[in-house]
Amino acid sequence: MAATRLVEELVARVSAGSTTQEWAITVLGDERRPPYNRILLSAVLEGTHRPESLTLRDEQWYADHGIDLRLGARVLEIEPRLRDVMLVDGTTVEYDALVLATGSIPTLPPIRGLVRMDGTLHEAVHAFRSLSDCQGLLAAIGGLDTASPRGSAYSTTEGRRAVVVGGGLLGLQVARALGVRGIATEVVEGADHLLHRQLGSAAGRVLARDLERLGVAVYTGARAVRLTDNALRLDTGVTLETDLVVLTAGGRPSTALARRAGLEVRRGIVVDDRLTSVSDPAVHAIGDCAEHDGRVTGFVPPAWEQASVLAGVLTDEPVKYDGSRVVARLRATDLDVAVLGDPEAEVRDGGEVVEMSNPVRGSHRRLVVRDGRIVAGALVGDLNRIGLITQHYDRQTLLGPTEPGELLMTERARETVRLPDEAEICNCAGVTAGAVRACASFADAREKTRATTGCGGCASTVRQLVAEQSRLTPEGVK
């Protein structure tokens, strides 16, 4: 997705005439389909998205813009001194600038029986990274009816069981999606609570309860250690009988090519503020594979911001990347989680915590505030005011002392009070409650005051007021 955005940004600059350079762009992708919206895979699994609506740009678009898109093209080696890359099929592609947007690769947890003797995965095991993975999983649960994503295929999944290994964002989305599909699903997480990278333990526990309420069983502080033909054994001694195992236990930046090419790699490919490798000015990295300022991200918005900055860098604009604000949202029906920034780190760094926990209702809401600004937050089970909280976070609004607390309170419906006589109830004709009370009937009020004859919005109020006077029910008012 980062690469697609970069290409779009470059194309836009070329067509706007803001770069006079001649561009020969080659896109190499090892999947066999054009780039698609990877973050919606769990929605496809859940059945809220058709797989066809994931494609970002089709092959024709690349062709129309003179871009050489090569699908199923796996890179064997980068040769920085020759400024070319060699593909597994032996061809080479020369470059002036090389952009690595290789993303991340899933890590395989150390579970015995996961990989068979011949090196392939156990037939019940599914990764969940690509559209192929997603379609494979859908086929396995018998839910591959893409024509009508909602409501189909539920019956065929009855009685089937799945275990999701990993209680991070992706794991929970997949677990919930399988649950929606009617599969008895359980989640296994090695840490002592769900979403442990994003949430504190109290919030994680509330989340686990929310998930269990939706029918998904949660095992935290438990590691899967052994897979047999129809069961997964945990290190807590529990054995989960299952038909399917889905691995979502995180990934790591895909850096093997960069490492072999001699570029500086720590967790990711190390880049500077111009998203340029610190060891080779002709090489750039964006997205999940890049490490900027000691951080790697795993989210799309920062990858896009990097793509946008890099497009500027490549066209000689004086731009710099100075990090991104991340809002992580769980995409799953009836499971409400939003994490702003890194709350745990901000708390450790001395941020003030404003918190509202209601385990009875299944909500836990925390804002971390520093110098009057929201620097991080975690909202579980109640996303009331999410659209305002994220605005304040993104814009770094300087808030008043009462605001963070109020943001966590649920809005109350307004109460109705007896209208004073001077209250204007019909804006159209400028009629007060008193003037209507002086009327004998609805028709009388209409005639004398012209209330209800404009927009008509006050009709129910007028009925109410006339009824008050005549001791009728509003329905009885003619």
Partner: protein
């Protein structure tokens, strides 16, 4: 008794005007049978008292748009007649002393024509500019375009409608090949299952329209309102979405993303009636709900609820208004919503489609007959040789004498005087000082003109700057047609004589034209241009000029309008068979969200948006002078959280600042607005000193509806009452 229409908004509510002989008004003899023009101002001349009004508003129950209903502005519309501030003689300013004095008509018109001739000789015809209004009748709008192109010879004409629905017009032309506010009668919404209002507060801005939406709900239909404020309209909605100002487009993209994701696209309609879907489909693939939530501040659950409604029925109507359109991305925003409508297969199917709720009284007709910088009558483009040929023949001039395309409204005003553009400006039916964005700057431009001529009823804020002010007739004193938001041409009929000394705009135009048109040129079989002052004659000429154009009025006559309670130009229900594009198919146009021109920052941390209140209309030149309409002056609407942040209580003065100006007004603390947004009504001087003049690249619409602002306590405010009187005085006389 005279059947006519309300002087204000685009509904053009039908009403009956009855002459009254007594001063009491109440219980008047409605069956008096007085006819047009009878029983009018007996004390003719001079400024008289309210007694002279002698007209009372009565319902006209049969007119289908409002069925006898009116809002407060309609009921009180006659009060402006005989108002003590009504101008009844031309006024001329002495530039040396600044004194303004009464003058005779001939003196005033000679002076204006003389100055124009001097300027024209010295600097060419484009040194003269004309600024019209969306409240002018079709006849006036038409005649004004002709005055500019034929008598003045200038390309420099545009009008305030550019600030009204120009974005919807531009989008409509791109998508459907034609621009008409509603391609179906308003009452059709009653038969729909779902209506989505994007940026309209019609319960306040056009209250009688709300009855149709109430009936929709009475039938079990659903109303969706999208607005940064929980307005009185939104309070009636089944679903209310409250986006950050300037993000309606992102919401549309997100809605279309989910429509496609759910497989709810009408593939057959898309394949047979449209072009361009594939590109639009790809462009919305990256607008998943969580991304939309972050941009718009609308929770994913609410977006999903909207899409569930959109996909629940075939009878879905999507309507936009100024809230969605008055943005530097206004055209793209409308296109974004049109794309949703097209993907769902709505336009041209019964009780479904897309429409724009036009704002000004003649917002629709005003843009069809040649007061736009780029257009000739009948919605013809001025740079189309065939169009020029046709119109020139009707006008009795040679096609090559017609000037080309001029500047758009804001660009025209911005270029005046010191701006290097025209040195003289003639204003008809507009109060620029109050209604232009970045109004400080525009006011300075007006002050730098060699000649400013304003036609108005009262000494508006703009008239107060003029060198020559010409007093013109008002609504009940004149006849002419207007085209309402449905494309229905209605007849405003004269019900009373104007005060002595007042002339109609048509007479003013003719008076100037006869002084400016050089004797008919070179024969060549033409009679040379004429400028009739009879509205019906002008309308017939307009019909000929528009014949064959997109908005063709040639089959419409005053008699037909009277008989049929208004006549639609074109079909009442459009697009049933084909669209007005060359191949008959609608166009999907890719619309990318880039956000408002000005973002909030450390110095200006809140969004400012502007709009109307029920009791006022536009710049308030008329409604602020009607005693029965409450005029409490401007206010600053803000949420309690924001009020607490700056420490202001309800009713206390608060200062709103932007990069362009500031305004002090009492705080109105309400829980119905987004806590990151403030709202200021635009009927008074001040609001538009704050607004941003960034323009939409396609429609040239300024960004009235969002800019970055800061808030503070008003420092030197002795007491609330003192403050508000001085402020209001300033507002009324600036």
């Amino acid at each position: 008794m005279t059947r006519t229409h309300c002087p204000y908004c685009s509904l053009q509510c039908g009403m009956t005007l009855v002459s009254t002989s007594s001063t009491t008004g109440a219980g008047s003899t409605t069956g008096a049978g007085s006819t047009t023009g009878v029983g009018s101002t007996t004390g003719a001349g001079s400024t008289t008292t309210r007694r002279a009004a002698g007209l009372e508003v009565q319902p006209w129950a049969e007119f289908p748009v409002n069925e006898g209903g009116l809002c407060r502005k309609g009921w009180t519309a006659t009060e402006l007649r005989g108002h003590r501030e009504r101008l009844t003689t031309p006024m001329v300013r002495d530039r040396a002393t600044g004194e303004i004095r009464a003058a005779g008509w001939d003196e005033a018109l000679d002076l204006v024509a003389g100055r124009i001739k001097e300027l024209r000789t010295a600097s060419g015809p484009d040194s003269i500019a004309v600024f019209g209004g969306g409240g002018l009748t079709n006849e006036k709008a038409y005649q004004l375009g002709k005055l500019a192109r034929v008598a003045l010879g200038t390309s420099q004409i545009d009008y305030n409608g550019r600030w009204c629905m120009a974005s919807a017009a531009s989008a409509g032309n791109q998508a459907f090949g034609i621009d008409r506010g509603l391609p179906f009668p308003l009452a059709d919404v009653e038969q729909a299952d779902v209506v989505v209002l994007v940026g309209s507060n019609l319960a306040e801005t056009m209250p009688p329209a709300a009855r149709h939406f109430d009936r929709l709900r009475g039938r079990g239909g659903k109303l969706v309102v999208i607005d940064p404020r929980l307005t009185t309209t939104a309070q009636r909605a089944d679903l209310f979405l409250q986006p950050v100002p300037g993000t309606d487009l992102a919401l549309a993209l997100g809605a279309l993303h989910l429509v496609d994701a759910a497989g709810a696209v009408d593939e057959e309609y898309v394949a047979t009636r449209t072009h361009g879907w594939d590109d639009v489909r790809r462009s919305v693939a990256s607008w998943w709900p969580e991304r939309v939530e972050r941009v718009t501040g609308v929770a994913t659950s609410e977006l999903r609820a909207l899409v569930d409604l959109l996909t629940s029925s075939r009878k879905v109507v999507i309507l936009t208004a100024r809230g969605a359109e008055q943005h530097s991305q206004g055209t793209a925003t409308v296109l974004g919503w049109i794309n949703v409508a097209l993907a769902l297969g709505l336009p041209g199917t019964p009780y479904a489609g897309y429409g724009c709720l036009t704002g000004q009284g003649n917002g629709q007709g005003g843009r069809e007959h040649g007061q736009k910088a780029d257009q000739l009558p009948g919605y013809r483009m001025i740079d189309d040789p065939a169009a020029r040929e046709h119109v020139a023949r009707v006008w009795g001039v040679a096609p090559e004498t017609l000037p080309g395309r001029g500047r758009s409204a804001y660009e025209l005003l911005e270029s005046l005087g010191d701006g290097g553009g025209p040195r003289a400006l003639l204003v008809f039916g507009s109060n620029i000082v109050v209604s232009a964005p970045n109004a400080h700057r525009i006011t300075r431009r007006l002050e730098s003109l060699d000649l400013l001529v304003v036609c108005d009823l009262v000494m508006s804020e703009t008239a107060a700057l003029a060198d020559v002010v010409l007093p013109v007739t008002q609504w009940a004193e004149e006849t002419g047609t207007l085209t309402n938001l449905e494309g229905r041409v209605v007849l405003r009929q004269k019900a009373a004589e104007p005060p002595k000394g007042v002339r109609s705009d048509l007479e003013v135009i003719a008076g100037l034209a006869e002084r400016l048109v050089s004797t008919p040129s070179t024969g060549s079989g033409t009679d040379g241009p004429t400028f009739s002052t009879d509205p019906e004659e002008v309308f017939a000429e307009l019909g000929r000029a528009s014949a064959g154009g997109k908005a063709d009025y040639s089959a419409i006559s005053y008699d037909r309008i009277r008989e049929e309670q208004g006549v639609f130009w074109g079909s009442p229900r459009m697009f049933t068979e084909s669209f007005a594009t060359p191949d008959g198919r609608a166009r999907f146009v890719v619309a990318e969200h880039t956000g408002p021109a000005e973002s909030t920052d450390e110095a200006f941390p809140v969004h400012l948006t502007t709009g109307r209140v029920l009791a006022q209309y536009q710049s308030g030149a008329q409604t602020r002078r009607i005693r029965s309409l409450p005029d409490d002056g401007p206010f600053v609407e803000l949420h309690p959280m924001l009020a607490d942040r700056i420490g202001v209580r309800d009713g206390e003065p608060v200062v709103v600042r932007t990069r362009r100006g500031e305004l002090t007004a009492p705080a109105k603390v309400v829980t119905t607005i987004r806590p990151d947004t403030v709202f200021v009504p635009f009927h008074w001087v001040g609001a538009n000193r704050l607004t941003n003049d960034a323009l939409d690249p396609s429609s040239r619409m300024p960004e009235f509806k969002v800019c970055a602002a800061s808030l503070g306590l008003a420092t030197s405010s002795p007491s609330g009452s003192d403050y508000s009187t001085t402020d209001r005085a300033a507002g009324l006389t600036a």
